[in-house]
């Protein structure tokens, strides 16, 4: 069963484009990624699902109910983490969380304590004294407290350190095993890759593709920057390398083959410096257009 159904969804802010003709489904129980650069329309789509804004045309349904008309009903079973979290500065963390779960008549002090422990958050601090990352933790807890059927996470990992991030992913996996469906929006490809079963890719307001992670990984490639010492490297060529670009002694290319093979080849030249990194989203998209 499709838990979220989006059909031809379009939103203009005045003349400005939000999203254009976006359609996809999220199935019950899956972790669905939503990926695209900043300003691509991820938040716009999410805000329509939560009825913060009304679509210009098209339809969105959650739990089989109309996102605008039955919003109140829908929100009973949603946990939402916005990309930027803003809470009442005058409240303590525990006050805010109690205020939050009181709306659902679910959740308990015990669960609040448990989640705060796992994310290493001090419940007695005032919201205004929290750092960006700690505010994000409050956001995570308020989204998880009432054990919603659908979690909508808009760029959830910004500001979290690696340790907390893995604790957070652990929590998400538990929620998913419990039966929660997760809608995970992000501009970081590796995050989506490790969490999700399927992803929708959005760019400039339009949906480019809905793809399984398997297919994405099959097309995976790395951005490689090599600095050579001496002249020997100038003739360096590598199988599976694409778009080589030279600047001085430095070569930059996209590599899609086995990392082991590349390292072996590099071993035979005089390498001064080597950088292997995730390609930026734009590069992923370019890659997509090529195929």
């Amino acid at each position: 069963m499709a838990l979220v159904e989006i059909q031809g969804l379009t939103k203009y802010y005045g003349k400005q484009r939000g999203i254009r003709d976006v359609s996809f489904d999220i199935k019950e129980g899956e972790i669905f990624g939503f990926i695209g650069p900043n300003g691509a329309g991820k938040s716009t789509t999410i805000r329509i699902l939560l009825n913060f804004i009304y679509p210009s045309s098209g339809k969105a349904a959650v739990f089989g109910k109309d996102a605008a008309r039955d919003s109140l009903d829908i929100r009973k079973n949603i946990g939402y983490l916005p990309s930027e979290v803003y809470y009442y500065d005058d409240m303590k963390v525990s006050e805010l969380l109690r205020f939050s779960y009181a709306f659902y008549k679910k959740g308990s002090p015990k669960r609040m304590k448990e989640l705060a422990d796992r994310l290493d958050l001090n419940l007695n601090k005032r919201i205004e004294d929290l750092s960006f990352g700690n505010k994000k933790k409050v956001g995570i807890i308020q989204a998880l407290l009432h054990q919603p059927k659908l979690l909508i996470l808009d760029e959830p990992t910004g500001g979290l350190d690696p340790l907390i991030r893995s604790a957070f992913f652990e929590l998400l996996k538990e929620e998913n095993e419990r039966g929660a469906t997760i809608f995970f929006s992000s501009h970081i490809l590796s995050e989506v890759q490790s969490m999700c079963s399927r992803v929708a890719i959005i760019k400039e307001g339009e949906l480019i593709k809905v793809e399984t992670i398997e297919n994405l990984i099959r097309n995976q490639f790395k951005k490689v920057t090599i600095t050579f010492s001496g002249q020997k490297g100038k003739t360096f060529k590598i199988e599976g390398g694409r778009k080589p670009e030279w600047s001085g002694d430095t070569l930059q290319l996209l590599y899609g083959g086995e990392i082991k093979n590349m390292l072996q080849m590099l071993n035979e030249t005089e390498v001064k410096d080597l950088l292997i990194e995730e390609p930026s989203l734009d590069e992923v998209f370019m890659h997509y257009y090529e195929h």
Binding site: L50, E84, V85, Y86
Partner: protein
């Protein structure tokens, strides 16, 4: 009633300060009444020297400063309707817009509460605050009259206590209506404060000049005019009807506008 309770807590400090200050001034004002009444002759002399238009504008041609309610109507009452209206627009104008300014509306709207639910609880909080504000001031006035050992007509006193509440509700509902569409607290409060003063100015003008008399129909101050209440010992039912209609229309419009708008933070 989570939001209602939250708003009552959040606005408690402002309510206490405004109520204490206005009540205090009201009592002090009335404590001066016995002296004023004694010096009535001198005051009458003074008033006669004022321009006739000014006398008329403040209703001093029909009321005597020697009468406790006449004294109150020209002094304390004015302060309460004016300062109370300022309090009312600041209170109501910030109710919704504070959530937008501080971007906490996104949090609130993701919870299972409808937009109409948010509006209802916030409006109730505005009403409760203004009711408490006016009740305490009424008690303070009563205390003031008692301390000044002044005899007065209870019916007129109660009318003069209820009328400011109606005026405060008018300004509060206009201010709230603005905040259902606009985001910036500062703009909303500026516009509504402007209204409070411009309307008051128009009320004065309509009293001073016969040519501008028709102005009185568009300023709500005219509908709660103390002189008329004291002289007629009643409030004009048509005026009460107009005031209620304005409050009702602003409230309904607030619901409709807030329900339909896009909320972008």
């Amino acid at each position: 009633m989570l939001i209602y309770r939250r708003e009552m807590n959040r606005n408690r400090k402002a309510l206490i300060i405004w109520t204490l200050v206005i009540s205090g001034i009201a009592i002090l004002n009335l404590l001066m009444f016995p002296d004023v009444a004694k010096q009535q002759a001198a005051i009458d002399q003074l008033i006669k020297q004022m321009p006739p238009g000014l006398i008329k504008a403040f209703g001093m041609d029909q009321l005597s400063m020697a009468d406790p309610l006449g004294y109150y109507a020209t002094k304390g009452y004015l302060m309460i309707i004016l300062f109370g209206s300022i309090y009312a627009v600041m209170l109501a104008g910030n109710m919704l817009s504070k959530e937008h300014n501080e971007k906490t509306i996104e949090f609130l709207l993701s919870k299972p509460i409808g937009r109409s639910g948010i509006v209802t609880e916030k409006l109730l909080a505005v009403f409760t605050n203004l009711l408490i504000f006016n009740l305490v001031i009424t008690a303070a006035n009563y205390l003031g009259f008692w301390l000044a050992e002044a005899e007065f007509d209870l019916r007129v006193f109660l009318l003069l206590s209820a009328a400011p509440l109606l005026l405060h509700l008018v300004f509060a509902s206009i201010s709230f209506l603005l905040s259902s569409r606009m985001n910036k607290s500062r703009n909303i409060v500026s516009i509504s404060l402007g209204l409070v003063f411009v309307m008051y100015f128009m009320d004065i003008l309509s009293g001073v000049s016969d040519k501008l008399e028709n102005l009185k129909y568009i300023t709500p101050y005219e509908y709660v005019d103390a002189v008329e209440i004291v002289v007629s010992r009643s409030m004009n039912p048509i005026y009460i009807g107009i005031i209620s209609a304005v409050i009702l229309l602003c409230t309904i419009a607030s619901y409709l506008i807030y329900q339909r708008r896009d909320i972008a933070v």
